[in-house]
């Protein structure tokens, strides 16, 4: 697999503040990579560095095998789509699309051809003569994508492109971007703080925090086996239930003791040897807990329903276990009144175990 974008030992400092530290990232040709993280984690900064809009302090950036570390943005073979669309307000849609090509002195016939093609792909032909102010949010974002499209680039950069749209439009355009990627097969780097966008669009997700990539993997791995406590808590809504406890050895088996409740780890695929007395955090996703459904091998505990949040397709139960609130996702038609006693079944095979100190997966 040839590498499309390659970032080697990239660092960026603003004065004394270090935003990115020794970051390495290889993005394959045609890959859809999502940079995911809370605001201020450096994901947009990284994208701006790749685009050449920010000068980096150290390291190298390669695009298509070419060292572009010192290149101007226009010479890097990238197109970028911004959150605020950043359409030139005084120009028509057509002018917006062709501006970059005119600056590059592309022949007019070629410009017309490329604009027509982009307009067809994005279905914005009827809008070509309009000004951005006369377009809706979704149409504006489509034009912004078109502006990257006409440049015939190798790599598309998206900086939170859907965050300014309402929920319905966002899910529509999300599908369109995915379809666009499937038909164009370009490399795309996509920055977002929305985990649904990340999980649905990405080939691989890079979860970032404090300028460091916490985990880089495909969506299912990120969701199923988070590498550390941060990734586990960041991905998933409602978020993973965490139980703080300590390891205890009993008859050659490792058991997590959470405030007196025992969780047998024989089914947990531990990576390292668990030591007795080790402080750990046990993480269980809300949908991995069974309610009143006995399954062989599951660990059962008694709890009482606190409240329920019916969401249509799902029903979210909040219960108290070991003195802390936990959430459980069950099918929407199963309803529980408050204070109902239930039996919870925990599947340790799908659980996650983290060291309480290093916060890394065990």
């Amino acid at each position: 697999m040839s590498s499309s974008v390659s970032i080697r030992d990239l660092s960026l400092n603003f004065g004394a503040v270090s935003v990115l530290q020794h970051l390495d990232l290889e993005i394959a040709d045609g890959e859809f990579l999502v940079l995911l993280g809370a605001s201020g984690c450096g994901k947009s900064t990284l994208l701006n560095c790749i685009a050449g809009l920010l000068d980096i302090s150290d390291g190298q950036i390669f695009i298509k095998g070419k060292n572009v570390t010192w290149e101007e943005p226009k010479d890097r073979g990238i197109g970028m789509v911004f959150q605020s669309y950043a359409l030139y307000p005084q120009m028509t849609v057509e002018k917006n699309l062709s501006f970059g090509l005119q600056v590059a002195k592309v022949p007019q016939a070629e410009i017309d051809k490329r604009v027509a093609r982009a307009a067809e792909i994005l279905q914005i032909q009827p809008l070509l003569k309009r000004k951005p102010a006369e377009l809706s949010g979704g149409q504006r974002q489509r034009v912004a994508i078109g502006r990257a499209l006409v440049r015939d680039v190798d790599v598309f950069l998206f900086d939170e492109p859907l965050s300014n749209l309402d929920a319905k439009l966002r899910s529509e355009l999300r599908v369109e971007i995915k379809r666009l990627h499937q038909s164009l097969k370009n490399t795309m780097i996509y920055v977002t703080h929305d985990q649904i966008e990340a999980l649905t669009l990405a080939d691989r997700i890079a979860v970032m925090k404090g300028g460091v990539i916490q985990q880089l993997a495909d969506p299912m791995t990120i969701y199923g086996t988070p590498e550390n406590l941060f990734v586990a808590g960041f991905i998933g809504s409602p978020s993973m239930n965490f139980f703080r406890g300590a390891i205890r050895q009993e008859n050659g088996r490792s058991i997590v003791d959470v405030g007196g409740l025992a969780f047998d780890l024989s089914r947990y695929p531990a990576r390292a040897l668990l030591k007795a007395g080790q402080k750990v955090v046990l993480g269980v996703r809300p949908e991995h807990i069974r309610v009143d459904e006995p399954v062989e091998g599951f660990i059962t505990h008694q709890a009482a329903v606190d409240i329920e949040e019916p969401m249509g397709a799902d029903n979210l139960l909040w219960l108290n276990l070991a003195g802390q609130p936990i959430s459980v996702r069950i099918a929407g038609q199963r309803r529980y009144a408050p204070k109902t006693p239930v039996t919870l079944g925990f599947d340790m095979a799908t659980a996650s175990l983290f060291d309480a100190e290093t916060e890394n997966r065990l």
Partner: protein, 313 residues
């Protein structure tokens, strides 16, 4: 009472028919003669009168002949309207040795104001654009120095500038005065433009860079077309400021290049002969008419631009 809320609802429900017909409905009536309105409009009227009265006196006096003025009723409208004072003020009032009225000063002022305004705005807008979007090494320091320049009193700099202009051989010329006006307009105009450009979305600038546009292309094709309001503000500030300038005009030019304000002063303050109040009034109105005209034409854009530029600092 267990539940006063629901009780009230039932009572109201029993009586709903008559209530819905009798109660307030639709738009709330506006009382035009409330005490508040009288206060507001009264204050506004008094303030307007306060400012309009001197103008009224000036206009009325300028339309009277001298015998009528000597009667002393300054508020009385003219019995016999005459435009002769206006003609005299424009074409034949005497300042020192010249007796060709304000017209010479008017054209001098035009020749000073237009180039000064155009040049200073052109340079300041590029300065502001560079400071806002192309942060270069030391740009913050440069900006600070420029702003400090706005606070240095003019008087301190007059003598050094006279020497500099003399050494350059342009002391006493229109060119020298235009350069001085351009330089002195720079701090405030640069600040104005920088703040405006900073308030424009940064992503627009980034998008243009990705599109391959350079310094000048972005300025001319992207920034300029979006900046009409702030250009109007700068134009008004400069035109009125330079037109109304007296000090620089007196210091840096020779009598044949005196701007209109200086000439007005010479007409009004001339010591020999009779004081021709009507001519003085007409001359004053003539001099003030240009800034007045600019305000009337572009007042709306002015307010919009000031507001836009003031959003971010």
């Amino acid at each position: 009472m267990a539940n006063p809320g629901s009780l009230a609802v039932t009572v109201a429900g029993a009586d709903a028919m008559s209530d819905s017909l009798a109660g307030p409905r639709g738009r709330r009536p506006q009382r035009s003669l409330s005490g508040r309105n009288i206060m507001i409009y009264g204050t506004l009227a008094i303030a307007a009168l306060y400012y309009l009265l001197p103008l009224y006196v000036m206009v009325v006096t300028s339309l009277k002949g001298m015998p009528e003025i000597r009667l002393g009723n300054i508020f009385a409208p003219p019995v016999e309207i005459t435009f002769e004072p206006w003609a005299k003020a424009w074409a034949s009032a005497c300042t020192g040795l010249n007796c060709d009225g304000l017209s010479r000063g008017f054209w001098n002022s035009v020749r000073i104001t237009i180039p000064s305004t155009v040049i200073s705005i052109a340079i300041a807008s590029i300065n502001g654009y560079a400071l806002a979007n192309w942060r270069f090494k030391g740009s913050e320091i440069f900006f600070t120095i420029l702003i400090v320049g706005a606070f240095i009193p003019y008087q301190v700099m007059i003598y050094p500038i006279v020497i500099v202009l003399r050494e350059m051989g342009i002391y006493g010329t229109l060119t020298g005065l235009i350069i001085v006006h351009t330089i002195f307009g720079m701090p405030i105009l640069t600040l104005l433009f920088r703040n405006y450009f900073v308030s424009l979305p940064e992503e627009l600038f980034k998008a243009a860079r990705i599109d391959g546009a350079g310094f000048w292309t972005i300025y001319l094709k992207i920034m300029l077309p979006m900046s009409l309001p702030i250009f109007v503000v700068a134009m008004i500030l400069q035109i009125t400021g330079i037109w109304n300038d007296f000090l620089f005009g007196v210091v840096f030019t020779r009598p044949e290049y005196y701007p209109m304000t200086v000439q007005l002063n010479n007409i009004v303050n001339s010591v020999q002969g009779v004081k021709e109040y009507n001519v003085n009034m007409a001359a004053t109105i003539l001099t003030g008419s240009v800034p007045l005209f600019v305000y009337f034409v572009s007042g709306r854009l002015f307010v919009r631009g000031i507001a836009a530029g003031a959003v971010k600092g």
